[in-house]
Symmetry: C2
Subunit: 296 residues, 2 copies
């Protein structure tokens, strides 16, 4: 149902960062992102009765594709609410996977209201992109595989948007790592998670003007306590740093990653003193980028 | 000195082609292309006296980078003649690897004359990008690895430009394969190898107006007899077919390949009846593309 994705290294990026980097390539995951892991795990746990009525979610992109594909494989109807701002390539992919797409206004409120309405009409089970425990545990399996392959890792980094990947990775590092610390990278332009860690409560973004379109969402009440307890820190990066990191990975590693995916590597380049000489895992979260809308 | 590159598969591209495809990722090779293999093998066979005087070559790009990097690692001076038409990204990379670059007019005659002049002045050993036997044997090691990993392959494809990779692959399939046939893809706009196979002598191109900038060269007197004897056929593809195949690999496999590298996959899509239901290896030759000059 999901691929065991490869772990790649790059001498050039090691030299540039001063760290020994291990990139877990979830951009090669089915539907192009780690979100397939959480979607499969969540749907697999539904009862036959629940499966018959289907699942519903709202997502700006990758989770939408993940639920559509996972549901299709398990023979479950999938109702997907997508904001009008979602990249066309992602909408097309969701429809290609057999998802029933409804477009909503791009606000969180509008997305939630639309999903709620569909839930009421169909009896479908709502799947949250980042706050359901089965989803969080599913996302963590990327880091479990990474630590199985490289148990010597001292640090693992992920991006943080809604917090599902980060919380799942933190649990994985806690249970499977050998004193492995977890950091996240976050866009300065949508730094709610950074501020939440410092204030001790879930903060929101007034604006989310970032090229990292997968990281515009906020933390949830299930993943935030995990992140508070198990994540070392969150490193914020500027837009130009995200684009430069993305381009470096494209040019040097010859792999395609989406802007959100470049954020933790940008964080390593921004605070190299934290990672110098260390064995550092980076979860490359996804590769679903519109080739007609490249930021460089 | 060289990476053992991974072999990737794609369910989507299998479904699209009707074949079971195994992509040998030489785009992940050091300096971004298979040419590192031939360069290392050729330089490693020089005497201490030859090494002290250095090596000289002319190349439109990847072989230039390969010789510069291989020579640098072996402590050998490298004189590189590059045509003025070579992509800037490749010239910059050669200089970065420590190669001494001389720019020539883009014709084969001008490149050869310049290399000859440098050879006379320095006593450096000339390395031909595709016609020296040690280079041909080095290029063949990609297919040897591919067949070690997947001995069940029934067909292997490469692109054909100067013929070094194709001849090396044909030898590898002959000695290591299990009745494994070898085909090549070639741009219609530079179809000298296709015509050479049919006429029985080395043909030239009157023009080479193809996006596949690595495939504008012609066969040599060492590799042509090998190709004649051991290669099943050469399949020609149009420019739009090359660009579409390149884009499919970028979007579906999330890896970066250069236009020349897409040619054998374009050939599979063009003549699917030859490969339907078969286990088909494709050598993805390189990933050195200028992100500011994409053909889509």
């Amino acid at each position: 149902m999901v691929h065991r994705t490869p772990v790649l290294q790059s001498r050039l990026l090691n030299a540039l960062s001063g760290a020994e980097l291990y990139f877990k390539c979830e951009n090669f995951q089915r539907m192009g992102a780690f979100k397939m892991r959480g979607a499969i795990n969540a749907i697999a746990q539904l009862s036959a009765q629940q499966r018959a009525k289907g699942v519903v979610t709202h997502s700006s992109g990758n989770f939408a594709q993940a639920v559509a594909l996972a549901a299709s494989e398990l023979g479950v109807p999938a109702y997907i609410v997508m904001p009008s701002s979602a990249p066309q390539v992602k909408k097309t992919a969701v429809i290609g996977y057999g998802g029933k797409v409804t477009v909503s206004e791009p606000t969180l409120e509008a997305r939630e209201a639309m999903a709620s309405k569909i839930q009421g009409e169909t009896g479908a089970t709502f799947l949250h992109p980042s706050n359901d425990i089965p989803v969080i545990l599913g996302q963590g399996t990327a880091a479990i595989e990474l630590l199985e392959d490289h148990p010597e890792l001292e640090v693992v980094l992920t991006p943080v948007g809604g917090g599902g990947l980060l919380a799942g990775t933190a649990l994985a590092a806690h249970y499977y790592g050998n004193s492995c610390k977890v950091y996240a990278g976050e866009p300065m332009e949508a730094d709610d998670a950074y501020r939440s860690l410092r204030s001790g409560k879930i903060e929101t973004n007034e604006s989310t003007n970032t090229v990292a379109d997968g990281l515009r969402t906020q933390l949830g009440d299930n993943n935030f306590p995990i992140i508070q307890q198990l994540v070392e820190d969150i490193i914020r990066v500027e837009e130009d740093e995200i684009v430069a990191a993305m381009r470096l990975i494209w040019e040097r590693m010859k792999i395609i990653i989406e802007p959100s995916c470049a954020v933790p590597f940008a964080a390593v380049l921004k605070q190299p003193e934290l990672f110098a000489g260390k064995r550092v895992g980076i979860v490359l979260s996804g590769g679903n980028v519109d080739l007609n809308e490249l930021p460089f």
